[in-house]
C-alpha cells in the first residue's frame, strides 16, 4: 500500500486534491465571511491534530500538552501584533505610552527585555518555529533519552501544560493574564480586522496547512516514517537493530510541536487575540480528540476530524449548551471503544470499497466522484 520515495500514493493524491477543492473553492464560495473565519479558526486546530497524527498515531507518543506549543506559537505572534498595536500614538492616554495596555494597568513602566525583539517580524516568525521547537527538544531529550514514554510522558506533558497556564495567568503584567492579549490590530500596517483581510488570512492559513500536510506526507513515506511505525509497534526490536529510538521520538515530537505552533500563530492572526484558555490541559486533551475522531493514522483524517468536531461543538453549543459536554464525553468513549481508527477508518472500511465497486465497471481508475464524495463528510 505504501509506495517508496514518493510523497503520496495515487489515492492519497486524490484525497489531498479533494481536500484542497473543499477548502479553497467550495467553502469560500458557499460560506459568508463570519463562517469562513470560523472555519479558519478550526483549521488552526487541525495543525495540532496533524502533529498528533505524526507523533501519536505513527510514533506512539501521546502528548497531552500540545496546547503548550499552540500557545507558545500564538503568544509569539500575539506579542508582535500587540507591540504594533501599542505604538506611542495609539497609547497616548496611558501613564507610560508605547507599552501594551495590560502592562500599563499592572504598573509596569518599561517594556520587559524578552519583549524587545518582538518588534521585528523576522524575529517573530523565527521565534514561532524555534521557541516551541527548542522547548519540545528539551522536554523530548530529557524524557526519551531516559526511556520514559507512554502514560508517564502523557502525565508529564499534562503537568507542563498546567504549569504554563498558571504561569501565564499569574504573571499578568507580562502576559496579559487570564484575558490574554486582546485588541490586536495590524500586521506591518495592514489591518487584520476587516472582512477582506479575514478572507486573505483564511487562504494563508489553508496554504500553511497544505505545507504542513506536505511535510507530514514526506515524513510518512520516507524511511523515517516507517521507523516511527516500527518503533511504536516493537520499540525494542528497533533499538536492537541499531537505531537510536530516542532521537526519532524527539524528532517526531518536535515536528508536532512546530506544527502546533504554526497553528497557534495563525490562530492569533485570524481571531485577533490569544489567551491562556488555549494552553491548558482541557484544550490540549480536546485537541487529541480531533486527531482521534479523524483517525489517528490518517493525515487528512486529522483535518476532517477537527472540522467535524468543531462544527458539532459550535452547532451544539448554540442550541443545547448543556448537552455538548455529554456529546464530547461520549465521543471520547465511542472513538476509543467502537471505532479506534476514526472517520478515516470508517471511510476506508465501508465507503471506499462501495465507491470502488460503483466506479470500476464504468471507467477503471477514474476517481473524480470519489473526490466529491470525500468532501461531503466535513460539510
Amino acid at each position: 500500500m505504501i509506495e517508496n520515495t514518493r510523497f503520496a500514493s495515487r489515492s492519497e493524491l486524490v484525497g489531498i486534491a479533494a481536500l484542497a477543492l473543499l477548502l479553497v473553492v467550495v467553502l469560500p464560495l458557499t460560506l459568508d465571511v463570519f463562517r469562513l473565519n470560523l472555519v479558519g479558526k478550526y483549521l488552526t486546530y487541525a495543525f495540532v491534530a496533524l502533529g498528533l497524527v505524526l507523533c501519536w498515531g505513527y510514533g506512539g507518543i501521546l502528548s497531552l500538552g500540545q496546547g503548550v506549543f499552540f500557545g507558545l506559537g500564538g503568544y509569539c505572534m500575539a506579542m508582535f501584533l500587540k507591540l504594533e498595536a501599542s505604538s506611542p500614538e495609539n497609547t497616548k492616554i496611558q501613564s507610560t505610552p508605547g507599552i501594551p495596555d495590560f502592562m500599563d494597568w499592572n504598573q509596569i513602566t518599561e517594556l520587559p527585555l524578552f519583549w524587545q525583539p518582538f518588534h521585528s517580524l523576522t524575529f517573530t516568525i523565527a521565534a514561532i518555529i524555534l521557541v516551541p521547537g527548542v522547548f519540545a527538544f528539551i522536554i523530548g531529550a530529557a524524557m526519551f533519552k531516559r526511556r520514559v514514554g507512554g502514560t508517564y510522558f502523557a502525565i508529564i506533558t499534562q503537568a507542563i501544560a498546567a504549569i504554563l497556564t498558571i504561569l501565564i495567568v499569574g504573571q499578568q503584567g507580562y502576559t496579559g493574564g487570564i484575558n490574554g492579549m486582546t485588541d490586536l490590530r495590524t500586521l506591518k500596517g495592514w489591518d487584520i480586522r476587516p472582512d477582506h483581510a479575514k478572507v486573505v488570512l483564511y487562504f494563508v492559513c489553508v496554504a500553511c496547512l497544505f505545507g504542513c500536510i506536505f511535510v507530514a506526507q514526506l515524513i510518512r513515506h520516507s524511511k523515517l516514517g516507517r521507523i516511527l511505525v516500527a518503533m511504536r509497534d516493537k520499540e525494542d526490536r528497533v533499538r536492537f537493530s541499531g537505531y537510536s529510538v530516542a532521537n526519532f521520538k524527539i524528532f517526531a515530537f518536535c515536528v508536532a510541536a512546530v506544527f502546533a505552533a504554526i497553528g497557534g500563530a495563525m490562530f492569533a492572526l485570524q481571531v485577533g487575540f490569544m489567551s491562556p484558555s488555549f494552553v491548558g490541559i482541557v484544550p490540549s486533551i480536546e485537541m487529541v480528540i480531533y486527531a482521534a475522531v479523524g483517525g489517528r493514522l490518517s493525515i487528512l483524517g486529522a483535518v476532517y476530524g477537527t472540522l467535524l468536531v468543531n462544527f458539532a461543538k459550535t452547532s451544539f453549543s448554540e442550541s443545547f449548551p448543556e448537552l455538548w459536554l455529554f456529546g464530547l464525553g461520549g465521543l471520547f468513549i465511542a472513538v476509543v471503544l467502537a471505532f479506534p481508527n476514526g472517520v478515516a477508518g470508517l471511510w476506508s472500511d465501508y465507503v471506499q470499497p462501495r465507491l470502488v465497486r460503483l466506479v470500476t465497471p464504468r471507467k477503471a481508475g477514474w476517481s473524480a466522484p470519489n473526490a466529491v464524495a470525500e468532501g461531503a463528510p466535513a460539510e
Binding site: 501519536w56 501521546l62 497531552l64 522536554i139 530529557a142 524524557m143 531516559r146 526511556r147 520514559v148 507512554g150 502514560t151 508517564y152 502523557a154 502525565i155 508529564i156 499534562q158 503537568a159 507542563i160 498546567a162 504549569i163 498558571i166 504561569l167 495567568v169 499569574g170 490541559i281 482541557v282 486533551i285 487529541v288 480528540i289 482521534a292 448543556e322 459536554l325 455529554f326 464530547l328 464525553g329 461520549g330 465521543l331 471520547f332 468513549i333 472513538v335 476509543v336 471503544l337 479506534p340
Partner: protein
C-alpha cells in the same frame, strides 16, 4: 523576605504554614491513595478520578442536607454515615466503569486515558445539571468548628485535625488491606504476573474490578473529607487531578510509602512557598521542581525494582 519578622514570629509562621501544608497533605494523600491503587497497581490511568472524588463530596452534601432537615438530632455524627455512603457510591460507580469501559482497554493504556477523560466530562456535566454550576458547601457540626490554641501565637483548626486523623486511619487501613489481607495478596499477585495469578486459581477479572472499585471508593472518601476544608463545584475534581497524578508519579508508581512521602514534600513545599509569594507562583515553582526531578529520575522517589 525574612527581614520584617522577629524570630518567634517566623517560628509561628512556619508552624502555621506547616499545619496548612499538613491539611493539603491529607487531601493529597487521600486522593493519591486511590490513584496509587489504580495507577500504581493496575497501570490504568483514570482521568475521571477527580470526578469520583467530587461524587463523594456531593453525597456528603446530600447526606448533610437530609440529616439537617429530617434528623437534626443526629447532625453531630452525620459525617461518619456520609463517608460510608460516599465510599459505597463512588466504589459502585467505579466497578460499573471497570465493567463497562476499562476492562476492554487493559492492553491500550493511552486509550484508557482518553476514555476516562470522556467519562470525566460526562460526570462533570451531570453534576452541573443535577446540583447546579455553583459551588456548594457543607455545614459542619458545632464540635468541628473553631480552632485549638497551642501557644498564644499558634492555633490550629479542629476540622484540619479531624481530616488528618481520618487520613492516617484510611492510610493504615489501605496498607493493611494491600499488604496483609488475603485479597491484597491476590491484587499484588495479579499485578506482578497476571497469567500466573490466573493459573493458580485467582479470578483476575474479579480482582481487577474490586481493585478499581476500592480505588474509586477511597476517592469518594477523599471527596467526603474534602468538603470539610473547601467547597465543592462540578469542576473541582479537575483542579486536583494533575497534582494528584504528579504525587503518585513522583512517589514512584507502585509504592505506597513513596506516595505518602511525595504528597508530604509537595504539600509542604507549596504551602511554605505560598506565604512568601503569590499562590500561583508557589504552585508553578513546586510543579516545575517536580517535573525537573522527574526528568532526572523518571522512576520517582521510591522505585520498586521489578524484573521484566
Amino acid at each position: 523576605m525574612f527581614g520584617d519578622y522577629t524570630l518567634s514570629q517566623l517560628g509561628s509562621i512556619f508552624v502555621m504554614q506547616g499545619f496548612a501544608g499538613l491539611i493539603l497533605f491529607s487531601v493529597y494523600v487521600l486522593m493519591a491513595l486511590g490513584l496509587a491503587i489504580i495507577f500504581g497497581q493496575m497501570g490504568v490511568i483514570n482521568m475521571a478520578h477527580g470526578e469520583f472524588m467530587i461524587l463523594g463530596a456531593y453525597v456528603t452534601y446530600l447526606t448533610a442536607s437530609f440529616v439537617q432537615s429530617h434528623l437534626p438530632a443526629l447532625f453531630s455524627v452525620y459525617f461518619f454515615v456520609a463517608m460510608a455512603l460516599a465510599f459505597v457510591a463512588s466504589g459502585a460507580l467505579g466497578m460499573l466503569t471497570e465493567w463497562a469501559l476499562i476492562r476492554h482497554l487493559y492492553r491500550r493504556p493511552l486509550d484508557t486515558l482518553l476514555a476516562t477523560w470522556g467519562l470525566s466530562l460526562i460526570l462533570q456535566q451531570a453534576f452541573r445539571s443535577i446540583f447546579g454550576a455553583r459551588e456548594v458547601g457543607v455545614e459542619l457540626p458545632q464540635w468541628m468548628l473553631g480552632s485549638l490554641p497551642i501557644t498564644d501565637t499558634i492555633e490550629v483548626p479542629i476540622n484540619g485535625i479531624f481530616v488528618m486523623g481520618l487520613t492516617v486511619l484510611i492510610t493504615v487501613a489501605v496498607a493493611y488491606i494491600i499488604f496483609r489481607s488475603r485479597w491484597g495478596r491476590q491484587v499484588r499477585a495479579v499485578v506482578q504476573n497476571r497469567v500466573m495469578a490466573g493459573a493458580v486459581g485467582i479470578n483476575t477479572e474479579r480482582v481487577d474490578r474490586l481493585t478499581f472499585g476500592l480505588g474509586c471508593g477511597i476517592a469518594g472518601v477523599a471527596g467526603s473529607a474534602f468538603t470539610m476544608v473547601g467547597s465543592t463545584g462540578p469542576t473541582s475534581g479537575q483542579l486536583y487531578i494533575v497534582d494528584t497524578f504528579l504525587v503518585v508519579v513522583f512517589g514512584g508508581a507502585a509504592s505506597l510509602l513513596g506516595t505518602i512521602a511525595s504528597a508530604f514534600s509537595i504539600s509542604q513545599t507549596q504551602s511554605t512557598l505560598e506565604f512568601f509569594m503569590s499562590g500561583s507562583m508557589a504552585k508553578v515553582i513546586t510543579l516545575l521542581t517536580i517535573v525537573a526531578i522527574l526528568m532526572l529520575r523518571p522512576q520517582g522517589l521510591f522505585a520498586l525494582k521489578v524484573r521484566k
